[in-house]
């Protein structure tokens, strides 16, 4: 079985994001970019499936700017076997929308025929949480979102999902789209030998036109704003004043 893992190049989770002066989005110029952390978890899970003998090949795919090559090299250094880069824009500020990504992934699936797609539940840049579900709709495959445990048993995947108020375990028929949550695993570091090998692994470069997919935006960002800054607190003299203030605020 082949496992397909879509990975997205996003602003590094350590970077303090800044909204562009014109409010059109977040400033991405000269900012450290990394693989979306949820996608890293998906790559790790795919490699573990391969190590456990449940998968033969792990293919990482990224859609976006050419620099997403680095993100794919990271996936290859972690242990993915090969990579596909679909260069869909040359502007780092252009985000390819979930539907376009899902259509491109559908086209890749048609070509590669994987038995499983493992993707991050969402990307930490726009937090859309949409691509996996759209892909399941387009392919007509089973879908299991927010996975905190994935077991492959024959033609089925047993997936534990993190839902409000607890865990839900479902059994889905393969092929399936599984979107992964934070607690599924702890991604490995790229080992030095794998870092050195990554460059020699195949990385195929494509364009949306190769798949006949139109990636023109259908959404319009109206405005992006910084979250409201917290107002300064009040220092109180003693516990009595604190209690009085809390009562005043109706908190107790």
């Amino acid at each position: 079985m082949k496992v397909l893992v879509p990975v997205k190049r996003v602003i590094d989770y350590n970077v303090k994001v800044r909204v562009k002066a014109d409010g059109s989005g977040v400033d991405l110029a000269n900012v450290k970019m990394s693989m979306n952390p949820f996608d890293e978890i998906a790559v790790e899970e795919a490699i573990r499936l391969k190590e456990a003998g449940k998968a033969e090949e792990v293919i990482a795919v990224s859609i976006g700017v050419k620099q997403a090559q680095e993100t794919l090299r990271t996936a290859l250094a972690m242990g993915a076997d090969r990579a596909i880069l679909i260069v869909a824009t040359d502007d780092v500020h252009t985000d390819i929308e979930p539907l376009a990504v899902a259509k491109l992934l559908k086209a890749v699936i048609d070509e590669e025929q994987p038995g499983l797609v493992l993707c991050g539940k969402q990307a930490i840049d726009n937090d859309m949480n949409a691509t996996g579900q759209m892909l399941a709709a387009l392919t007509g495959w089973s879908q299991a979102t927010f996975a905190s445990e994935v077991k492959i048993e024959g033609d089925h995947a047993i997936v534990t999902r993190e839902v409000d108020g607890g865990l839900q375990t479902i059994k889905v028929t393969m092929p399936a789209i599984v979107s992964v949550d934070l607690r599924l695993n702890e991604p490995r570091y790229a080992s030095l030998p794998n870092i050195m090998k990554a460059k020699k692994k195949p990385l195929e470069e494509k364009t949306p036109a190769d798949y006949g997919v139109d990636v023109a935006p259908r959404l319009q960002v109206v405005k992006t704003t910084e979250p409201e800054t917290r107002k300064a607190g009040v220092m109180v003299r003693d516990v009595d004043t604190l209690v009085a203030k809390l009562k005043e605020a109706g908190a107790i």
């Binding site: 090559q69 680095e70 090299r73 990271t74 250094a77 570091y189 790229a190 080992s191 030095l192 030998p193 794998n194 870092i195 050195m196 990554a198 460059k199």
Partner: protein, 386 residues
């Protein structure tokens, strides 16, 4: 000219940095308090480093290392500078000098050291022989077909965990026009060899969890098989393999300075006094500007020296410049960063006071700042006949 890192180098840096943040930094405060690294913790770091393929990455592939270039290895060392010296000791970088091992020595010392099965240490410094290496009083005398070692070494890092130690001893004296000159020989000495003892050293202001040891040799008898390199060839072995250690000190200082600076920068942006972030005051903002400028300068000086070594260009002067500047830069950066934290910077709740203390040794070990200036100035003046 091209100043960017390759994709591989970026990944090496990112892996080592994550390793230091996840596997090293959480244990630093405890190690500092204990004054040593608990064996299990050291073993765990070593095991994880081996699994990552980074152990002994400074060694060539034909002996089982990763065959990193000097530049690549300098990047590794730079990232390790973000962690405590005591703990990153177990992110094994055996002494390059072991490459001088020949014949059976390879199986017994070099290969196990590269595999992480045996830890080594290097013993050169003596109470009466610091910068003046030739002044060493440790002697090895020929007796009944063996060598008999007598003398004392001190300030020996890593000896408390070492399975064997590379020891330098005087094996003769040459009479020259400038007076008597000692001949040195390097020996491989196993822990437990009769007459050889490893004792705890002094309590140091820097790198508290990374103790120094005192080594004593009392009629310690060694067969010829323990000679590393050739008899009386100690200086050659030293020059061939040890000149690079100055570069690792420089790289470590750069990494350490970046970590220290990152904390100071964040604090300057978040701490408010007189109704604004303290970084807005030029008294705080300008030191930050100076710091990052000096760190970048030291970084490029160090990387370019490493690049020169890889290119086979003369690099002795450049390595000394990097070691000198990076270690002195670290002293200024740790001091100015601590100042930004004010009183809190002195408290051991934060790592600033530790960085400040640790920085002091960097200007002393692996050749003092004065020795580096001597090397640099001689390199400049000797060709002019002065």
């Amino acid at each position: 000219m091209h100043f960017g890192l390759t994709g591989e180098q970026e990944m090496i840096v990112s892996t080592v940095r994550s390793f230091v943040e996840t596997e090293i930094q959480p244990h630093e405060a405890e190690v500092e308090r204990l004054g040593h690294v608990p064996q299990e913790l050291g073993d765990e770091i070593r095991r994880k480093c081996i699994a990552l393929g980074f152990y002994a990455c400074n060694f060539p592939e034909e002996v089982g290392g990763a065959g990193l270039s000097h530049l690549d290895f300098t990047l590794v060392e730079r990232e390790l500078g973000r962690g405590s010296m005591a703990l990153v000791h177990f992110f094994g970088r055996p002494q390059n000098i072991l490459m001088a091992c020949e014949g059976a020595q390879r199986e017994k010392y070099l290969l196990p050291a590269v595999r992480g099965e045996k830890l080594d240490a290097l013993a050169m410094t003596e109470p009466d022989a610091g910068s003046d290496v030739r002044g060493m009083k440790c002697t090895a005398v020929r007796q009944g077909g063996d060598w008999v070692l007598n003398g004392t070494k001190h300030f020996i890092s890593g000896a408390e965990h070492a399975d064997f130690v590379t020891v330098f001893a005087a094996t003769g004296v040459d009479e020259t026009a400038k007076g008597p000159k000692k001949r040195l020989t390097a020996f491989l000495v196993d822990r437990g060899t009769p007459g050889f003892a490893i004792r705890p050293g002094y309590a140091s202001v820097s790198h508290r969890g990374y103790p120094n040891s005192i080594l004593t040799f009392d009629d310690c008898r060694l067969p010829d098989a323990q000679v590393l390199g050739v008899v009386d060839g100690g200086f050659d072995v030293m020059n061939d393999w040890l000149h690079g250690t100055r570069l690792t000190v420089a790289a470590f200082c750069v990494g350490r300075a970046r970590r220290c600076f990152d904390l100071a920068l964040k604090y300057a942006a978040e701490r408010h006094q007189f109704g604004q972030p303290i970084g807005r005051f030029q008294g705080v903002g300008f030191p930050l500007a100076d710091m990052v400028t000096e760190i970048d300068a030291a970084d490029w000086l160090t990387l370019s020296a490493a690049w020169r070594v890889d290119e086979g260009l003369p690099s002795n002067r450049e390595i000394s410049s990097a070691k000198l500047y990076a270690s002195e830069m670290l002293a200024r950066v740790t001091d100015a960063s601590l100042q930004i934290f004010g009183g809190m910077g002195l408290m051991d709740d934060l790592p600033m006071e530790r960085f400040w203390r640790d920085a002091r040794v960097e200007r002393i070990w692996d050749g003092t700042s004065e020795i580096q200036r001597h090397i640099i100035s001689r390199d400049l003046l000797r060709p002019l006949g002065a």
